[in-house]
Every structure is written in structure tokens, then in C-alpha cells.
């Protein structure tokens, strides 16, 4: 399997991701693919040859191996890694499509562009990105569940008893390197779980950012409409018994009563304008 080709394809995705997306991609490649290629394939390399059953009956070993390992962990993980890294290609495809449309538009209307930046996550691209995240998380979760279902809770027993035809009665069968396999299974499961968690974080971040932006724009629009439809007048004097004097602004001497009320008026005007701009 040429993992470097897949890696080359996916590093191009980096440009269109968020911060979480880039961390996720490095996590996937460094921990999962590297560990998978360097270590796990060696551990599972001799699983079929070294599977031993306590019998000389021909065919018994094959039948028992097949029932205990319907699909090998290695193949499942290879499939998982391929499925999980491909939704990012959806985003790349969408950006390419946008760039094509932009080119066609420029050819017809020279001097103006359809998209300011085809890679910016607005409109349709935002939905595509969110959808790719949803797919990533669900593929990971689905494969974790499949692994759990097939191997009854990520278990790797040292000894399993087999009673299928043509094995005589019950036969003891021994898996090779069960502890090492269990350690790597746990490692891959843990890194899958972390990747799912990061996908969820990224989804929350994306949706939160969008909501925040929409709320901000709505609030600004409301303020603008309010300012346009009303005459802004100076606020009435405060009803408190204490008079507020801004000692720092007075280069002039405060004591004249006229001066005091005049300062107060200035403070209130300043308060009114700053309240409008907030």
C-alpha cells in the first residue's frame, strides 16, 4: 500500500482546514499510519503461520483460524485509515469546482471575480467542510464498533477452544503474540477515540464561530437601524443625590456651579456616545 501517495494528496488539504483540522491530520499521519506501517504490520505478519492447534487433523487449523479471525485487524485498520482520510478530498474537490467556475466567469466578464477567495469557508464550502467532518467522525466510530463487534470487546485471548468440523471434539488453539497484539489494538483504539473527539471539537468550533458571527452581524444591524430611525438626544440628568465631577478633565477650576453642571453635561454626553458605539 502506497501510503506516501495518500499522504501527498492529503497534505494539499491542509490549506483549507481550521487549526483543529491540521492538528487532526498530523495526529492521523504520525500516530496511526506510521505506527500501523512500522510496527503493527510486523506484529500481525505471521498470524496465520503461527496459529497452532493441538491436533493433527488436517483442515482443523484452517477452519478454526477462519472462525476466530473473520477479518484480520490489519486489514480493518487499513480500510479504516483510507475511509477516514478521504472525506477531506470532498473539500478539495469543492474548492477546485469553485476555482473552475471563477475562471469561466472571468473569461466571460473580464476584470471581476465570482469569488474573492475560493478557499475561504463561506456558503456551500462551509457546509461541505462540516459534512466532511461528520463523515470522518462517523467512519471512525463505525469501524470502532465493527472491531468491537467482531472481536467481542477488543479481546485477544491466548487460548481459544474450537469445536467446528472437522476438528475432533474440542481442540485448543493458540494465537501467536496475543499480548503484543492487544497492546497495539488498544493503542489504535485510543488514537481513533482521540481523533473522533477532535472532529467533534472542530465541529463545535466551526458552528460556534458561525453562530457568533451571525449574532454579531444581527446586533450591529439592529443598532444601525435603531440609530437611523430615532433622534439621539442627550440623556436626562441622573437622579442620584451625588454629583459626579470629573476631576481629571478639569484644567479649569471646578468650584463655579455653572462649571460643575457644565462638566456633568459633558460627561453625560460622552457616556451617551460611548453607549451608542458599544
Amino acid at each position: 500500500m502506497n501510503w506516501s501517495a495518500l499522504e501527498g494528496l492529503l497534505s494539499g488539504v491542509n490549506k483549507y482546514s481550521t487549526v483543529f483540522g491540521r492538528v487532526w491530520l498530523s495526529m492521523v499521519f504520525v500516530f496511526r499510519v506510521l505506527v500501523f506501517v512500522v510496527a503493527a504490520q510486523r506484529v500481525w505478519g505471521d498470524e496465520s503461520k503461527d496459529f497452532v492447534c493441538n491436533t493433527r487433523q488436517p483442515g482443523c487449523t484452517n477452519v478454526c483460524y477462519d472462525s476466530i479471525f473473520p477479518i484480520s485487524h490489519i486489514r480493518l485498520w487499513a480500510l479504516q485509515l483510507i475511509f477516514v482520510t478521504c472525506p477531506s478530498l470532498m473539500v478539495v474537490a469543492h474548492v477546485r469546482y469553485r476555482e473552475e467556475r471563477d475562471k469561466k466567469y472571468v473569461a466571460v466578464h473580464p476584470g471581476s471575480h465570482l469569488y474573492v477567495n475560493p478557499g475561504k469557508k463561506r456558503g456551500g464550502l462551509w457546509w461541505t467542510y462540516l459534512l466532511s467532518l461528520v463523515f470522518k467522525a462517523s467512519f471512525d466510530a463505525a469501524f470502532l464498533y465493527i472491531l468491537y463487534f467482531i472481536y467481542e470487546g477488543y479481546d485477544m485471548p491466548r487460548l481459544s477452544k474450537c469445536t467446528l468440523e472437522p476438528c475432533p471434539n474440542t481442540v485448543d488453539c493458540y494465537i501467536s503474540r496475543p499480548t503484543e497484539k492487544k497492546i497495539f489494538t488498544m493503542f489504535m483504539v485510543a488514537s481513533s477515540a482521540i481523533c473522533i473527539f477532535m472532529c467533534l471539537c472542530e465541529m463545535v468550533y466551526l458552528v460556534g464561530k458561525r453562530c457568533h458571527k451571525i449574532l454579531r452581524i444581527r446586533r450591529e444591524n439592529e443598532q444601525l437601524m435603531f440609530a437611523e430611525s430615532h433622534n439621539i438626544t442627550v440623556l436626562a440628568r441622573p437622579r442620584s443625590d451625588y454629583s459626579r465631577v470629573d476631576l481629571t478633565s478639569a484644567a479649569t477650576a471646578p468650584p463655579a456651579s455653572n462649571g460643575v453642571s457644565g462638566n456633568k453635561l459633558k460627561i453625560e454626553e460622552a457616556a451617551a456616545t460611548s453607549g451608542k458605539m458599544a
Partner: protein, 239 residues
């Protein structure tokens, strides 16, 4: 994906390391990854096939091997190398983030010509401020991972010595059975070598931490040279 492309990724970090960091990286690649790939894997290649027990009982071989070798040395070292090199990615991500921000600022201020952008790509960032903290955290994680793996190694294989003969009596082996490990002396030599190089790497990382801290203190005191506090301290120390 193999060690070669991993090397390409990690050596990109080289530009933003200190001198000691570069030495650490060379030690890592030449003495650890290269030795692991070229030599150690052929020594441990037949570990399961060459593990023989003095019995014809089927399954006894597998069970005894599993009991005495829960995880192979080679896999432990591969995991150790992967985990120890990944904090460097933190630094690389930080630098990429800074470059991204610089490009944005440049574009906003209107000077986004290709030459300026090219300049940003080749700019070398000094290790100060937030980058200093990121670098320090990555160093501390490296030291932590190395120490953790040395401890795990010691826990699983006490004494770091590879035994020639083990006595095994788990089911289904009848009574007690002698089992023999293949190439024990060669394995011991390589184990001791990899551990020594791990120790050297830990020392290099500690030296780098001290160097960075010293440089930061130096910078701090130089900038505060004309402060009365420093003058007071030096006066008190000289008297």
C-alpha cells in the same frame, strides 16, 4: 509512509532549533533510527521463529513466547522514537501559525507582493516569547517520554539483559519446559547500545533546557541593565 518521509517532516524543524537541538536530531537519526532499521530489525527478525522449547506439545511455544515477551524490543523502540520526535511537530506548527499570521498582516497592509511572501517563508524565527514556551514544553515532553520508555523497558525486561534460557510452566506445557531465545548476546549488545544513546539524548535535552533558560535570563537582565534593582544587587554582591 516510512522512516524516510518521517525524517523529511522532522528535519524541517531543524531550521528553528538551537545548535544543541540540531545535534540531538542528528544523534536521533544516525544512532537510533538508522541503527534500528539497518541492524536491529535483522537481529530481532527471527525472534519468534528462533524461539524453541524443549517439547513437542503444540501451543507451548506460542504461550511461553507470549509470557516472556509481552512486547518486542523493536516495537518498543519504534514507538519510543515516534513519540519522542512528535513534540518537534508542536514547534513546527507554531512556526507555521506565526507565518500564517504574518502573511495575513502583510496582505492587510497592502504589501502582499510575491517577493515579500517569499521572504516570510524563509524567515528564521528567533526563539523568544510564545515560541520559547512552545519549544520549552516540547523539550520537557521529550525528556518525559524518553524517561517513561526507559522505565517501561526496565519494568518489562529487568536488568536489560537478554536471557539465554527461560523455564516455562504455563498451560499447555507439561510440567516445566526449557525454552531457548535466539541470539541472546547480540540482542543484549544492541539493547545496551540503544539505551546508552537514549541516555545521551536525555542529557542533550537537559542541556538544551538549561541553555535556553540561561539565554532567557541573560536577555532579561540585559534589558534591565539600567534598572536600579540590578545595580543594587550587583552592589550588594560585590561588597
Amino acid at each position: 509512509m516510512n522512516w524516510a518521509s518521517f525524517y523529511a517532516v522532522i528535519s524541517g524543524v531543524n531550521r528553528h532549533s538551537t545548535g544543541i537541538g540540531r545535534i540531538w536530531l542528528s544523534v536521533l537519526f544516525i544512532f537510533r533510527i538508522l541503527v534500528l532499521v539497518v541492524a536491529a530489525e535483522s537481529v530481532w527478525g527471527d525472534e519468534k521463529a528462533g524461539f524453541t522449547c524443549n517439547t513437542q506439545q503444540p501451543g507451548c511455544n506460542s504461550v511461553c513466547y507470549d509470557q516472556f515477551f509481552p512486547i518486542s524490543h523493536i516495537r518498543l523502540w519504534a514507538l519510543q522514537l515516534i513519540l519522542v520526535s512528535t513534540p518537534a511537530l508542536l514547534v513546527a506548527m507554531h512556526v507555521a501559525h506565526r507565518r500564517h499570521i504574518d502573511k495575513k498582516i502583510l496582505k492587510l497592509s497592502g504589501r502582499g507582493s510575491p517577493k515579500d511572501l517569499e521572504q516570510i517563508r524563509n524567515k528564521k524565527f528567533k526563539i523568544i516569547g510564545a515560541l520559547w514556551w512552545t519549544y520549552m514544553i516540547s523539550l520537557l515532553f521529550r525528556i518525559l517520554f524518553e524517561a517513561a520508555f526507559m522505565y517501561i523497558f526496565y519494568m518489562i525486561y529487568p536488568g536489560y539483559k537478554m536471557f539465554r534460557l527461560v523455564k516455562c510452566d504455563s498451560y499447555p506445557c507439561p510440567n516445566t519446559v526449557d525454552c531457548f531465545v535466539s541470539r541472546p548476546t547480540e540482542k543484549t549488545i544492541f539493547t545496551v547500545f540503544m539505551l546508552a544513546v537514549s541516555g545521551v539524548c536525555i542529557l542533550l535535552n537537559i542541556a538544551e533546557v538549561l541553555y535556553l533558560v540561561g539565554r532567557a535570563c541573560n536577555r532579561h537582565f540585559q534589558s534591565a541593565e539600567d534598572s536600579p534593582m540590578v545595580a543594587w544587587i550587583t552592589q550588594k554582591l560585590c561588597l
